[in-house]
Symmetry: C2
Subunit: 314 residues, 2 copies
């Protein structure tokens, strides 16, 4: 297993990302605050550069490469948000990036990836292995593969959002009681957990997966990594990871208070809520945690509740 | 004419609004930055409480009332954004609010106003005078009328967004070159102008009106206040003020570098840009300044360009 990142790694990532990543706002959700009778905020990572939190981890991973290694460029596979995060980070370092994307990825995500100057290599989900394609590309070019979640630097980078949440809640004179986040491979949830350990030790962390793709929930319950039965078939495309990794399994076991699920229809309703109440564009997977909170799935708690809206590339 | 507000009034308003109004984020617009070859940001007032900047001025006006006067409540007339701003501010002071709104106002704005606990009084645009209705209500209840722009406290409150813009641009190590804002009655533009005088004296301020409703532009050109020929018929409903006031005329004459117009179709295209690039919901009138920038209507300039996206109640 790769080395397990620590809070210090998250703090180092925050220093690297200063002036690079957007300090995204923490916005009050008046409707949910009244309904749940506690202060509810949305951490608007849809307003992050590239429209999702992914640039945090991608930049932190690329920054950690040796200069000579970095100069040969990077490769990644992703259905869209990690793709754009890696493309943007590569552009900031002025290095080449090739991104392996499924041919049925949302058009906005493919266009977004290209708009950052990255090369896109499309594959067929049913017949081709994206892992093999990306590995072959990396070897052929001497480039480095940037994993979407199974990497300590990537996890530490995503965790910087957690440091911000803790600071933003404290600046309002409130105690952070709960953080709830969408969960795919578990990189963001793991990073948030690391950040909250010290910055808000009383806070409970929940992850939300698409219904029918709750491999992380079942893995934690079983005590071993279990894969999803299906590879596709949910509108919450950003969260459709086949399974979590040893690294995120280890961290989630230690740091998550619980894992929940949201249906596609609940995610769609959460997108409508985000537009009407928060004036934000959310993508279905990015709205999974908001969906769980809106549909009464979150255990009761005290103190401020922060819902991570992780992406807006709809 | 009412007393002309000063920069000190804007600073006093900023102190009153601390912890009340949201410090809305300044978000980079990558597409426009590349196209215009200068750093372009959007001041996202659609993320303000009540979905527009209006709560700034309304709160500042109500805060300035004598306690006994304030306790008798407030009255306002508005097609929607000022309505919600007054309703929210009244609720914060726990005083009654009655808002006179046109029966054809966007349903979301009427519902939004009621959601803050205000009473709504609907009138027919063609046959009834909203000014008379509101004045009668105010007299009958001993309540105070809160003007939507023709008031020094209201203008000073809106100006707090300008102090934030200047600070947010300076924090990025940039020089503020241009600010462009939607313009209806001129309250926001006047307040921004006051704030920028001292906080960013080199910045040039532009206002954008709906095409066919450019009474302020024609008034400044003529040297006297001219009314719009039509009262309605633009999708940019937030900007359809019959004419500016002596107060905003005086301030705009001194503080605006120029006034521009945007068509409804340009505003619609700007809404699409806000959703795709910025992940923000904008209303047509709120997107007028963005529309002008996107359609090449803004004079060339140097330094950072800040576009005020003034509302998202679409």
């Amino acid at each position: 297993m790769k080395p397990v990142p620590t809070l210090d790694d998250v703090r180092a990532a925050a220093r690297r990302l200063r002036g690079i990543a957007t300090l995204t706002p923490l916005l009050p959700d008046r409707v949910l605050s009244e309904r749940l009778d506690r202060p509810v905020f949305v951490k608007a990572e849809c307003l992050q550069l590239t429209g999702s939190f992914k640039v945090r981890g991608a930049y932190n991973r690329i920054a950690a490469l040796e200069p000579a290694e970095r100069a040969r460029g990077v490769v990644a596979f992703s259905s869209g948000n990690h793709a754009q995060g890696v493309a943007a980070a590569a552009r900031m370092f002025a290095i080449p990036a090739a991104i392996v994307m499924p041919s049925d990825a949302p058009a906005a995500k493919i266009a977004g990836t290209r708009s950052w100057g990255a090369e896109t290599v499309l594959y067929d989900r049913e017949t081709q292995s994206r892992e093999r394609l990306a590995a072959e590309l990396a070897v052929a070019r001497g480039a480095t593969l940037i994993p979407s979640f199974d990497d300590p630097h990537v996890i530490a980078g995503q965790g910087t959002a957690g440091l911000e949440i803790a600071q933003q809640v404290a600046a309002r004179g409130l105690v952070l009681g709960t953080v709830v986040t969408p969960l795919g491979g578990g990189g963001l949830a793991s990073g948030l957990g690391l950040a909250l350990q010290a910055a808000a030790p009383a806070a409970r962390l929940y992850g939300v997966e698409p219904e029918g793709f709750d491999d992380a929930r079942r893995s934690l319950a079983a005590g071993r990594i279990i894969s999803n039965a299906r590879k596709g078939g949910s509108r919450q495309d950003a969260l459709l990871t086949p399974e979590i990794s040893d690294l995120t399994f280890t961290l989630l076991k230690r740091l998550a208070a619980g894992l929940l699920t949201a249906t596609d229809d609940e995610a769609t309703a959460a997108q409508a809520h985000a537009a009407a109440v928060l004036k934000l564009i959310a993508e279905p997977g990015g709205a999974a945690a908001l969906a769980a909170a809106l549909h009464g799935k979150l255990p009761a708690g005290e103190g401020a509740l922060v819902i991570v809206l992780s992406g807006g590339n709809a």
